[in-house]
Structures are given as structure tokens and as C-alpha cells.
């Protein structure tokens, strides 16, 4: 379980993450939603030790991220941020192989190689594995990055807006893959999402942030409701139930 308590982060005078205390349940998909500037990405970066906090603490299965060695954490938790601007020309295979770095430190054994092949085929990248990243489309590259994170084989997988750059088909494929990873590999996936319908359809749990604070949290059934969405997004959103899932219509 990931537990944050009293997490605060300031940029100058403004608190971008303001006293966030949450418990992210182990197993399943947890989505973090909220308007732009709510502090979702910043919180994800703090939880994954990419960014320091000004006060508060984060523990992952009891390990405090501020003082646990980084390579120990790298075998527990992986993080993929958005816009991964990359200048290096690496092949898909080589990129995915670096996911094994926390274990192999560069010397791949048979087990590592099995993980690499598995991650590549998990994301349907077999045909592309010898291509350079700069020769791929945005969506293919995104899948390669996710394959690297899968190859890292951590209990917790944190993804910041993983559906960016993906068309509907691949966005849906990505979410189904996350569900599959939770079910088959026992992963805990935490996502920052902008599309509340994806969050509603695929998540087990949703956390809503606004102005650096957590304003609501709960299951999709509890959260995807007009009054809750009004509080989060300041707009009137109709919610319909289709096939047991709650779907929001926010077009005006």
C-alpha cells in the first residue's frame, strides 16, 4: 500500500500539493483525476521520489521514499512521466532492456532476457523491436516506454497521463492491458487521467484533486455523480448508466 501523510509542496508561495493524506489500495487500478493545475502530476512525482516534498511523508509497503535507497525502490515502484522527450537513438529492444537495470546493473541474465521478450510481446511490439525510437509514431513510442516499465516488473506502476498520444483504439488497448496486468501479474497501477470516462470505466478506485487538495475519493460508483463532478470541475455534467458503467456527458 502507498500511504502519504500531510504531503505539501510549494512553488514560491503557492501550494501545488496541499496537505494530501491518502492511502492508495494495493491491487487494481487507481485513477487520479482533476482539472489542470490540481497537482496530480506533482503528487505522482513526489510519491515516486522524482521530486522532493516540502513536508509530509510517503511510504510504499512501509518503505519511506525519502530514505530508502533508490535502487531498492526501483524494484518496487516504476514511474513513467508524460512527454518523454528523447534525443537518444535507442532501439525498442534496448529501451525495454533498460527496464531490467535495477536487477541486472547492465549484465542481462537468462531471466532478464525472458522478462524483456515478455514485455515486448505484452505490448505487441515484436515487429518493431529492432526499430529506433525516433522512427516510431508517438503512439508506438508510448507503448515502448510502457513496455520498459512493465519489464521493470515492479508491484506498483505509476503512469502520468499514459493515454496521451494514443488514439481511441490504443487508449482502450492500454487500459485493458493495465487491467490484465493487475489481474494476471498482481500489479497495482496508479494513473493520472484526464478523460473521466476512461477513469470511470476501468478504475477500481478514483481520487479527485483540486487546487492541490484531495476533494473526493471512492469507487467510480461513488464518485462519478453530477454533484461530485460539479465540485471537482465546476461544471454541470450529466451522468448516465450504460451496461453497469457510469458515463459522463460533458459536451454542451
Amino acid at each position: 500500500m502507498i500511504i502519504t501523510s500531510g504531503l505539501k509542496k510549494y512553488y514560491g508561495e503557492t501550494a501545488v500539493v496541499d496537505d494530501v493524506s491518502i492511502q492508495l489500495p494495493a491491487g487494481g487500478i487507481t485513477s487520479i483525476i482533476g482539472p489542470n493545475g490540481a497537482g496530480k502530476s506533482t503528487m505522482l512525482s513526489i510519491v515516486s521520489r522524482l521530486l522532493g516534498m516540502d513536508s509530509g511523508s510517503v511510504t510504499i509497503d512501509g518503505l519511506d521514499v525519502s530514505n530508502t535507497p533508490s535502487d531498492v525502490l526501483a524494484r518496487r515502484l516504476s514511474i513513467l512521466r508524460q512527454d518523454n522527450h528523447m534525443t537518444a537513438r535507442l532501439t525498442v529492444h534496448d529501451l525495454v532492456a533498460f527496464g531490467r537495470y535495477p536487477y541486472s546493473k547492465g549484465r542481462l541474465n537468462i531471466e532478464d532476457k525472458a522478462h524483456i521478450d515478455q514485455a515486448i510481446s505484452y505490448l505487441n511490439l515484436d515487429d518493431l523491436k529492432n526499430r529506433f525510437l525516433d522512427e516510431l509514431s508517438g503512439g508506438q513510442r508510448q507503448r515502448a516506454f510502457v513496455a520498459m516499465v512493465i519489464c521493470q516488473d515492479t508491484d506498483y506502476v505509476l503512469l502520468d497521463e499514459p493515454l496521451n498520444n494514443l488514439d481511441m483504439k490504443h487508449a482502450m488497448g492500454m487500459m485493458k492491458l493495465m487491467q490484465k496486468a493487475c489481474r494476471e501479474l498482481g500489479k497495482t497501477v496508479v494513473l493520472v487521467l484526464h478523460d473521466i470516462n476512461f477513469a470511470s470505466w476501468y478504475s477500481n478506485y478514483i481520487i479527485a484533486m483540486k487546487n492541490g487538495r484531495v476533494v473526493r475519493q471512492g469507487t467510480p460508483d461513488e464518485l462519478i455523480r453530477p454533484e461530485a463532478l460539479k465540485e471537482i470541475y465546476d461544471m454541470d455534467i450529466n451522468v448516465h448508466e450504460i451496461g453497469g458503467h457510469r458515463v459522463s456527458l460533458f459536451y454542451d
Binding site: 512525482s45 515516486s48 521520489r49 522524482l50 535507497p69 533508490s70 535502487d71 531498492v72 525502490l73 526501483a74 524494484r75 516504476s78 514511474i79 513513467l80 512521466r81 518523454n84 522527450h85 528523447m86 534525443t87 537518444a88 537513438r89 535507442l90 532501439t91 534496448d94 529501451l95 533498460f98 527496464g99 537495470y101 535495477p102 546493473k105 547492465g106 529506433f132 516499465v149 521493470q152
Partner: protein
């Protein structure tokens, strides 16, 4: 792999040619004839072999320094001479020459390396304030920083009547290489080996700070290691043979186009191609105006600026 063996073979062939090109007549025939106290053999051992070794070491290590620099700055167009590194090393060398002229060359080299490291760190710091981190803006900032440091160096060299000496360092030249005056360059080989050992770490760092942290590596430590390799190599080459511009830029870029950027694969390629390129340029410099020589920095500078322009324009076309 077959290509790589071919590259090594070509380099060795060039090295052999380098042994036999020059004003003094050194050939297999003169080597084994028993004329004038084995003069040819002496030339070979005192001048030609050290020169060829110096070229191999300087060429490979400078190319590696360029590669490491491009990886840690994450920009294709930086190398020690477009990041203020060479100029800082030169300033350091001047300072130590002024204040401690009696120190052994190795101590001077250490001072020059320390200055190179400080100058490059300053460059990296300035880069944090460059908005957008435009691909072409980064080397421009480096060249400007180098210009400022170079101007300071020139000013003090002028005041202390050391301008000719400064000119000699800044003009890379292998003609002065003799036995006993190039051995520091073996430190360059150490830099190359270090780059190979830490190749995976550098490649990961080249993916960016977030990727590096995610994989459990200490980003700052990898950057510092890279700075160390770049600074030591730049300083060693500067005090031994002078600066050779553009070399660290062209070779890694060509290799990147050929085999990509996974350093485990590129380090051997860059080292071999760097050595071969400098060998070829040096041989050309010795032949063009025979029996006179054109300094290596001129030959590499002319060829290098051409290739640099080509790479810049190519980049622009790709971006458009």
C-alpha cells in the same frame, strides 16, 4: 561486427602508413640496412611511434569525450570545444604556467582538468536558464561561454607575454610529439575505458533525469562521472598536443547515425573511428605541403566545420 573488424583493420593500416610518412626517410629498406648508426630506427622509435600512438590516443579519447558530453547534455551539437571545456582547460594551464612554472606537466594537467571541470559545470548551470533548450541554442551558449573564457585567457597571456605559447596550445599539432612528451595521453585511454565500463549508466542518464531516477540510479553521480571523463580527456589532450576542434562532434554523430546511441555498442566504434579520423587528417596534413606540415587542428577544423554545417542543415531539414 564484420564492419567493426574492417574499421579496426583500416585504422591499423593508417597507423602503419603514419609510421612511414615524414621528412626523414623511414622505410623497411632503411630500417634494416646497416647505414649511419641505424638512424631510421631511431627516428621510428623516438618520433614516429610516439606520434602515431599520440594520434591514436588523442583521437579516440577526444571522440569519446564528445560522445559522453553529448549524452550528459542530451544535445547532439556539444563537445568540449563548444561547451567552454577546452577554453577553461586552457585558462587553467595558463594560470598554472604563470604561478607555478616549475611544476611537472602532470600537475599542470591536473590544474587544467580542474578548470575544465569548473568551466563545464558552469556551462551546465547556465543551460538550466536557457528557455526551451533549443537544439541549436545550446552549442551557441557554449561557444559564447568559450569565447568569454578564451578572451580572459588571451588578455592575461598578452599581459604576461605568453601569447605565442597560448597560440601553440590552441593549435593542435602532433609534429612536436617525441618520446617522453606524449605519455600523459594514456590517461585519455583510461577515460575511454571508464566510459566503456559505465556505458549503461551513461545511456540511462541520456534518457533524462526522471528515467534515471526511476531505474534507481543517482543522476547527479552519473553526471559528475561524465564531467570527470570529459574534463580529464580535454585537459590531457590540450597539454600534450593542443586543442583539436570539432573532432568530438563529428565522430559520435556519424556513429550515432550508423549504430544508434546505446553506449555499450557505440563506445568501441567512436574510439576506433576517432583514432582513424585523426590519423587520416594527420597524414593528409603531412603530405599536402610536403616537406612542410599543416597542423592537425587546421585539417580537422576545415573538414570538421564542413561536416558540422552538414549536420546542422540536415537537422533543420528533418525538423521542417
Amino acid at each position: 561486427m564484420r564492419l567493426f573488424i574492417l574499421a579496426i583493420a583500416v585504422t591499423l593500416l593508417l597507423a602503419v602508413i603514419s609510421l612511414f610518412v615524414g621528412v626523414s626517410n623511414v622505410s623497411l629498406q632503411t630500417l634494416f640496412s646497416s647505414d649511419a648508426e641505424g638512424r631510421a630506427m631511431q627516428v621510428l622509435l623516438v618520433s614516429r611511434v610516439p606520434r602515431t600512438l599520440a594520434i591514436l590516443l588523442a583521437g579516440s579519447s577526444l571522440a569519446i569525450a564528445g560522445l559522453v558530453m553529448q549524452i550528459i547534455v542530451r544535445n547532439r551539437f556539444v563537445e568540449p570545444s563548444t561547451a567552454g571545456t577546452t577554453e577553461s582547460a586552457s585558462l587553467g594551464f595558463l594560470v598554472v604556467t604563470l604561478f607555478a612554472p616549475g611544476w611537472p606537466l602532470i600537475a599542470k594537467m591536473v590544474v587544467a582538468a580542474a578548470f575544465a571541470m569548473a568551466g563545464t559545470a558552469l556551462f551546465l548551470r547556465i543551460l538550466r536558464f536557457v528557455p526551451l533548450r533549443d537544439v541549436l541554442l545550446v552549442p551557441l551558449v557554449g561557444i559564447m561561454l568559450g569565447g568569454i573564457i578564451g578572451a580572459i585567457t588571451s588578455f592575461f597571456a598578452y599581459r604576461f607575454n605568453l601569447l605565442p605559447t597560448l597560440l601553440a596550445w590552441n593549435m593542435g599539432d602532433f609534429s612536436g610529439v617525441l618520446r617522453g612528451r606524449y605519455e600523459l595521453l594514456w590517461f585519455g585511454l583510461a577515460g575511454t575505458i571508464l566510459a566503456y565500463i559505465a556505458a549503461d549508466r551513461f545511456t540511462v542518464a541520456g534518457l533524462g533525469q526522471d528515467f534515471t531516477t526511476n531505474l534507481g540510479l543517482n543522476y547527479k553521480r552519473v553526471m559528475t562521472l561524465g564531467l570527470l571523463v570529459v574534463s580529464v580527456v580535454s585537459a590531457v589532450v590540450l597539454v600534450s598536443v593542443g586543442s583539436i576542434p570539432f573532432l568530438g562532434l563529428i565522430v559520435p554523430n556519424v556513429v550515432s547515425l550508423m549504430v544508434g546511441d546505446n553506449m555499450r555498442r557505440t563506445v568501441p566504434w567512436v574510439a576506433v573511428m576517432g583514432a582513424a579520423f585523426v590519423l587520416a587528417c594527420d597524414i593528409v596534413g603531412r603530405i599536402v605541403r610536403y616537406p612542410y606540415e599543416i597542423p592537425i587542428s587546421v585539417v580537422v577544423g576545415v573538414l570538421g566545420s564542413g561536416v558540422f554545417l552538414y549536420l546542422l542543415l540536415r537537422k533543420r531539414q528533418n525538423a521542417a
